[in-house]
């Protein structure tokens, strides 16, 4: 595959009009990573005005569950609310709210609630004073852990303290759920007449990754000892073969921080080849590589 290199400056060619469709612009669009969209509900500490805007969210940690949102510093009221108040709500828009999410993405004067402009309904939350949005099937009630100013944005780390979920959502299959929410923000499309539309998309085809024997039975966080144990238990490799790999691993762990040792390199190659052949299910090649007679049952 032929590759084209672009510097960061070339991502943003100011000599092109914003609606240009030349190759550079397409490259920019291809480089823009899409992210899930959320409404962010905040509250003015002084006036108690509710403020809603649209933001993209990202993952921060799973335990406890924290996420991030990025708010342009040009949206001064929202950034001020995030910095002054300890709480907010993230509400996930559904596919029927594409227009409303786009309306809420504009910067309205301080004190004006974009939820009202977008004809969305507010309702009290359970754990925070900031209200939730009725039309959204999921509302995350959050504590603001910190806000970091970064390249023209306020990056807020939000810890989820609870959430509401529409009960009619729960019986839906995951595929059906992914067609309901969230909306994902891909970028903007600028037209020759100067108008703009958002590029918003739903999740499409969902494909399972491989499972055991590609990694251990538990899936995530495969480590060689549990992987080898599972391969032995299910007779993909013999116990003697498993013991050999574990011996390689033990020797390697003793010398892994000394990259100049020839023996270390040899062991690294062996472990790499073991993992490669096991991951690709090439058992005959793996048995041959390990050099131990495979169990009778498999021969």
């Amino acid at each position: 595959m032929s590759k084209r290199y672009l510097t960061h400056e070339e991502f943003f060619d100011d000599t092109l009009p914003p609606y240009a469709t030349g190759e550079r612009r397409l490259a920019c669009l291809g480089l823009q990573v899409p992210f899930p969209l959320t409404y962010l509900v905040t509250m003015d500490r002084h006036t108690r005005d509710v403020r809603v805007t649209t933001a993209t969210l990202g993952p921060f940690s799973w335990v406890p569950y924290t996420m991030s949102v990025n708010i342009p510093l040009g949206d001064e009221p929202t950034v001020a609310n995030l910095r002054a108040e300890g709480e907010c709500v993230m509400a996930l828009p559904t596919r029927t709210q594409a227009r409303q999410a786009w309306i809420a993405s504009h910067i309205y004067p301080a004190g004006i609630n974009a939820a009202e402009v977008a004809r969305l309904t507010m309702a009290p939350s359970h754990r925070v004073q900031v209200p939730s949005i009725v039309e959204c099937p999921v509302n995350f009630e959050c504590i603001i852990e910190y806000v970091r100013m970064y390249h023209g944005y306020g990056i807020a780390a939000l810890r989820v303290v609870g959430a509401t979920l529409d009960d009619e959502v729960l019986p839906l299959s995951r595929e059906a759920l992914s067609q309901l929410y969230p909306i994902n923000y891909v970028g903007e499309r600028v037209y020759g007449d100067g108008t703009v539309s958002a590029r918003l998309a739903m999740m499409g085809t969902i494909t399972p990754c491989p499972t055991f024997p590609v990694g251990h039975k538990q899936g995530w966080d495969t480590r060689v000892p549990t992987w080898v144990a599972d391969l032995v238990a299910e007779e993909f490799i013999s116990r003697r073969e498993g013991d050999l790999v574990m011996a390689w691993l033990a020797d390697y762990e003793r010398m892994r921080l000394d990259p100049h040792l020839a023996e270390r390199q040899d062991l690294q190659d062996k472990l790499t080849t073991f993992a490669e052949l096991a991951a690709w299910g090439e058992w005959e090649a793996l048995h041959a590589y390990l050099g131990i007679e495979p169990p009778e049952a498999r021969s």
């Binding site: 227009r99 402009v117 499409g204 085809t205 494909t207």
Partner: protein, 304 residues
């Protein structure tokens, strides 16, 4: 009906069962939006050896283009490699043609073992960073760590993108069509035969019809710009524009007045009353503009 769940109930994956639903972690994933996946290519801080690990990324800023990466503390190698301002790495965006390989890079192999070799992925030199790029990925973002911190179970790194390599074919392909191939997104897990998890990756599907709207400034456009756009296209008269701007100016002078319901005395002042009137007026103005209800908008402005 809306049902409230605590943080611990959201986090609980096993053995909670929703009545009538066999999948034990079903509820958990109702609360977990899919997020774009990536392959993080980094170099061991001691040995310089290559490490490739699958993960997910989040948004930071567009210009300069920066992204956030989060690494589980259990991913010892990649976490260690990016815990330094100035550390270099590549964020490669995988497509749906390499889902098995993407999963293979998520194996927690001994430090120093190159997951790209295990997954039979091809590495090629990057231009601006020492960490190599992944040939099978249509986009490789060459990055430097600008900031990092511990975030509970994870480490977060803010990455500044210095440059990128991109498949030539993307330069002529419809960008929406490309999104049906890459990047893949981490969607959820399902159970396997051994009650373990099977990661599922998706790609974007249907693009939603979104009306062309003003302001022409697009995302983050301001009301003032929006009004000007409507004037320039002749949808507002000069008189209507002046009326709207006068309202806006008055509203901005009242926005900081504490409404009566929240004032210290609880007594409604003249200013608080006027604020409430202007609040309703500006909200109505924005609403009619947002929904293209121009006849009503003219009536509102002319009555004012």
């Amino acid at each position: 009906m809306k049902v409230f769940y605590t943080h611990d109930e959201i986090e609980q994956r096993y053995p909670y069962l929703v009545p009538g639903i066999e999948e034990p972690s079903h509820r958990h994933f109702a609360f977990q939006p899919a997020r774009p996946a990536n392959l993080l290519v980094s170099l061991d801080r001691v040995t310089g050896e290559i490490n490739v690990s699958a993960g997910t990324i989040g948004p930071l800023s567009w210009d300069p283009y920066t992204i956030a990466i989060h690494c589980s503390k259990s991913s010892l190698d990649s976490s260690a490699n990016i815990q330094q301002v100035g550390a270099e790495c590549v964020v490669a965006l995988p497509g749906d043609d390499i889902i098995p390989q993407t999963w293979m890079t998520a194996l927690n192999l001994p430090r120093g073992v190159n997951e790209a070799k295990v997954a039979r992925l091809t590495l090629y030199p990057s231009r601006l960073v020492k960490a190599p790029s992944v040939a099978e990925c249509p986009v490789n973002l060459e990055c430097v760590v600008e900031y990092y911190r511990e975030q509970h179970s994870h480490f977060i790194a803010f990455l500044r993108i210095l440059g990128a390599s991109i498949d030539e074919s993307l330069l002529t392909e419809d960008p929406d069509a490309a999104m049906h191939r890459f990047p893949t997104w981490e969607v959820d897990d399902v159970d396997n035969t051994w009650h373990g998890s099977v990661e599922r990756l998706g790609v974007l599907g249907e693009f939603l019809a979104v009306p062309r709207v003003r302001p022409a400034r697009g995302w983050g456009g301001r009301l003032e710009d929006w009004l000007l756009d409507l004037r320039q296209t002749g949808e507002l008269s000069e008189q209507e524009l002046q009326t709207a701007n006068a309202w806006l100016k008055r509203w901005n002078s009242l926005a900081d007045v504490r409404p009566a319901a929240w004032s210290d005395t609880g007594v409604e002042s003249d200013k608080a009353r006027e604020r409430e009137q202007m609040h309703q007026r500006i909200t109505r103005l924005c609403t009619l503009m947002a929904w293209d209800e121009l006849d009503e908008l003219h009536r509102l402005l002319q009555a004012g």
